[in-house]
């Protein structure tokens, strides 16, 4: 190991070793026993739902939620992001080092691991999987972040040691391994989750009905007593798109866990069985509103001028009563947003940011600076146009529709008419990404990765998902150029403190300029049947079964 290398994960490795060492005999017995019978604590079949059939069982190609859940439950990964601590923990790699320029990572592999078909896991399998993820011809969504590092060389040094060297450094590189499920080298790039290193493998699928995951008899993890994990024999993923029906089936005992509930359904369940309904506090799923700032949009010039004004956006932010949005629209299961990052993202949240106050008079003062004036109950701009804009959201989302109505009344109080229109989702996407024929939009987002690197596709002015004004050739405003600079700065250093400082600054600029008005951070609302033992739900996905190998079913 070179002087500048950092050893990461070694303490966790020691913890796992310490667990297993006093139980060598037990482990040996269990190992011999596993071929003919299951561990004493192995229990039944856990039933949960997915919204649709998985589009693929190839873990490298998983993009939709259902495929991603299958990937999580079946895939063995080299490094896991612990959903509870939000820290990296060793899995198939017992430890890893990243060289000082951040271009090369070396991973030491856990010995004696077998795939679910009984074949040995070797460095070759890890290398083949990573090469497939990096292959531009495969277009693996899971490999996108790796490919950002430019050309890469993946090598096996020994049976239990591999390294990857990238052209450019990648900040937060270790976390990316959480997405890469290792497959046998013979199946790399075309794996189907039937031969896996995770706790379960895909056993059976009935399209439109369910996916059955069967216990991996060779899974490497053991509990503190030396029993082989997972405890469950199987996990059945019912395909069910209707959330009301999901709750009915939960009440009937047909399913045991619900990962995400609307406040309305949560309240229903809570009134019947308070112990099953759990509010985990703020999640990383903000509800936000943004205005159309695209220069080439078909909006009239005077309206473009309003929407591109910092004072106008900040005034709108101040005139919206976020506390009421959380209390009324989300039934109290949300907290007013402070900035673009939820406090649930413990490390990256900027603690120095102050919440935007609810201050309609302050909002009017800001608007006056731009020449707006009240004419009776109507706010008018300096050319005499009454201030009115449309606010669109996706139809059918009741909390969001309530939020729209609340925003409508809040802004009415300062003389602004908001025409609130719930639309079908494809129409919204069409308007927001292609025609730019909209004034303002209210939507929610799920941050699947806590690291700001995962948000480069939103915050860079050139990005296609730069919500308010996407795909700019050069930054159209000074503050967007500044955000670009800080986002690139955090992505180009390995020093976590430096990265944090840069991303803190991005959060400050976003708060000052308010290109997106973050309204509330929704709470993570889940349901856990009393039958499920060892459940320890968290705010990150998959909330209720992130520790699937430790879950078991009682009577």
């Amino acid at each position: 190991m070179k002087a500048g290398d950092r050893l990461i994960g070694s303490s966790a490795e020691v913890r796992i070793k310490r667990r297993s060492s006093p139980c060598v005999l037990l482990v040996l017995i269990a190992f011999c026993f596993s071929a003919c019978s299951r561990p004493a604590q192995t229990t039944g079949e856990l039933r949960v739902t997915i919204k649709s059939d998985p589009k693929t069982f190839n873990p490298l190609m998983a993009e939709d939620d259902s495929s991603d859940i299958v990937r999580y439950l079946t895939g063995g990964v080299l490094i896991r992001v612990n959903r509870k601590t939000q820290e990296n923990q060793p899995e198939l790699a017992t430890s890893w080092t990243i060289d000082e320029n951040g271009r090369r990572i070396t991973l030491n592999l856990r010995p004696g691991i077998k795939f679910s078909d009984g074949t040995d896991f070797t460095a070759e399998d890890a290398v083949a999987t990573l090469k497939a993820a990096l292959d531009p011809n495969l277009h693996s969504p899971k490999g996108d972040a790796f490919r950002a590092g430019g050309a890469a060389t993946v090598e096996a040094h020994r049976k239990d040691k591999i390294s990857i060297e990238f052209e450019h450094p990648i900040a937060g590189l270790e976390r990316l391994f959480d997405e890469i499920a290792i497959s046998p080298s013979r199946m790399a790039g075309k794996a189907d989750s039937s031969v896996v290193l995770g706790p379960f493998s895909v056993g059976e699928q009935k399209a439109g009905e369910y996916v059955l995951l069967r216990r991996n008899p060779y899974y490497w993890k053991r509990d503190d007593s030396g029993h082989q994990l997972p405890y469950l024999n199987a996990v059945r993923l019912y395909v069910l798109s209707n959330r009301d029906t999901e709750l009915i089936r939960f009440r009937q005992g047909d399913i045991q866990l619900i990962n995400s509930m609307s406040p309305d359904l949560y309240e229903q369940l809570h009134s019947e069985d308070a112990s099953a309904a759990r509010d985990l506090g703020p999640s990383v799923e903000p509800e936000e509103l943004w205005f159309n700032e695209v220069r080439k949009s078909p909006l009239p010039e005077y309206k473009k001028n309003w929407l591109r004004s910092r004072n106008f956006r900040r005034a709108m932010s101040m005139a919206i009563n976020r506390a009421d949005l959380a209390r009324v629209a989300l039934r109290g299961h949300a907290t007013p947003s402070i900035g673009i990052v939820s406090p649930a993202n413990r490390f990256w949240f900027n603690q120095n940011l102050q919440p935007t106050p609810y201050d309609p008079n302050g909002a009017l003062e800001l608007l006056k600076q731009d020449g707006f004036r009240k004419d009776g109950d109507v706010l008018k701009d300096k050319a005499g146009h009454p201030v009115s804009f449309s606010l669109i959201t996706n139809a059918g989302n009741k909390p969001r529709e309530r939020m729209g109505s609340l925003v409508q009344q809040d802004l009415q109080q300062i003389g602004i008419t908001v025409n609130f229109i719930p639309l079908d989702f494809p129409s919204i996407i069409e308007r927001v990404t292609r025609t730019f024929n909209y004034d303002a939009v209210l939507l929610g987002f799920t941050n699947v990765d806590l690291d700001p690197n995962a948000q480069m596709n939103v915050w860079l002015s050139s990005a296609d998902l730069h919500e308010w004004n996407p795909a700019q050739k050069i930054p159209e405003t000074q503050w967007e150029a500044e955000i670009d600079k800080y986002m690139r700065a955090q992505a180009s250093t390995l020093d976590r403190k430096q990265r944090k400082l840069a991303f803190d600054r991005v959060q400050e600029i976003a708060a000052e300029e308010s290109p997106t008005i973050h309204l509330v951070d929704k709470n993570a609302l889940v349901a856990v049947s009393p039958r499920v033992k060892n459940a320890d739900p968290v705010v990150l996905t998959p909330q209720t079964y992130w520790n699937i190998e430790y879950l078991s079913l009682g009577k």
Binding site: S390, Q409, F420, I421, P422, L423, S427, N437
Partner: protein
């Protein structure tokens, strides 16, 4: 007309008057949010309680009735007139025109209306006041919803055209216009009236469904349709029976219409 029918007429007139003068009878503005009184049960202040945003339910019901009672019959009238003109004229003239009418009716019946309405909505500007949006919605329903009625009207007119009394009138030298006005139209009238009344609740419910796709009456304007959406929350209905009020009032009004109408038909 019997006393019962007179009572029905009086009751219906009262409902219309109350709905038309909603601003006089409503305890609060329909959009006013009493945010401290969410889902409040009925009290003296809120006779039908408040909704999930703290808005007075009775006020919303009265204003919603006004919008639906004015616009749904207007849309039904439009669609029935179109059905009478297209279906009736084609069948009465006969020959190529009758076949052409049939093709047009079949074409309209086979169109995927939901997608067509979504397309039409996409072409309309977003930033329009709620009242304009609701008028556009019902105008669309009236303009596009005539085909089913037209088929029935056409079939009836076709039968009448070949009936013995029409043949006899024609053989007696009765001019075409007189034949249409004196012999055909009076016999088609009950069909048209029935189609009109069938269309009214249909348009009210269609408006409610379109609301789910952003095409119906938009917030904060209430309509019978969007008030009925609250019945989706069936779990709450047992505990809060006052949520049934929009449905009960709709059934009541429609029943009164039918009761009065059936008497008219029998009389004619």
């Amino acid at each position: 007309m019997s006393a019962a029918r007179w009572a029905a007429v009086a009751l219906l007139a009262a409902v219309f008057l109350i709905a038309l003068a909603a601003n006089l009878f409503a305890p609060a503005p329909y959009a006013k949010q009493f945010r401290q009184d969410l889902n409040h049960p009925p009290t003296q202040q809120y006779p039908l309680g408040t909704d999930e945003l703290g808005r007075d339910r009775l006020s919303r019901l009265l204003y919603g009735m006004r919008i639906s009672l004015l616009l749904a019959p207007a849309a039904a009238l439009l669609s029935t007139l179109l059905a009478a003109i297209v279906g009736g004229a084609g069948a009465y003239i006969g020959g190529v025109w009758d076949r052409l009418t049939n093709v047009v009716i079949n074409l309209f019946l086979s169109l995927p209306w939901l997608f067509l309405l979504l397309t039409v909505r996409a072409l309309l500007p977003l930033d329009v006041p709620a009242l304009t949006s609701v008028v556009i919605t019902f105008a669309l329903l009236g303009t596009l919803g005539w085909a089913a009625s037209a088929r029935i009207v056409a079939a009836t007119v076709r039968d009448l055209r070949n009936s013995e009394f029409v043949l006899q009138a024609r053989a007696s030298g009765c001019p075409s216009l007189r034949l249409l006005l004196r012999h055909v139209l009076p016999n088609v009238k009950p069909i048209l009236i029935a189609q009109f009344w069938i269309s009214v609740p249909l348009f009210i419910l269609t408006e409610a469904n379109l609301g789910m796709l952003g095409l119906g009456v938009t917030e904060p304007l209430p309509s019978w349709g969007n008030l009925l959406r609250e019945l989706e929350n069936y779990g709450a209905l047992a505990h809060r029976p006052w949520l049934w009020a929009p449905l009960i009032s709709l059934v009541l009004v429609m029943s009164l219409f039918q009761f009065i109408l059936s008497g008219e038909e029998y009389a004619s």
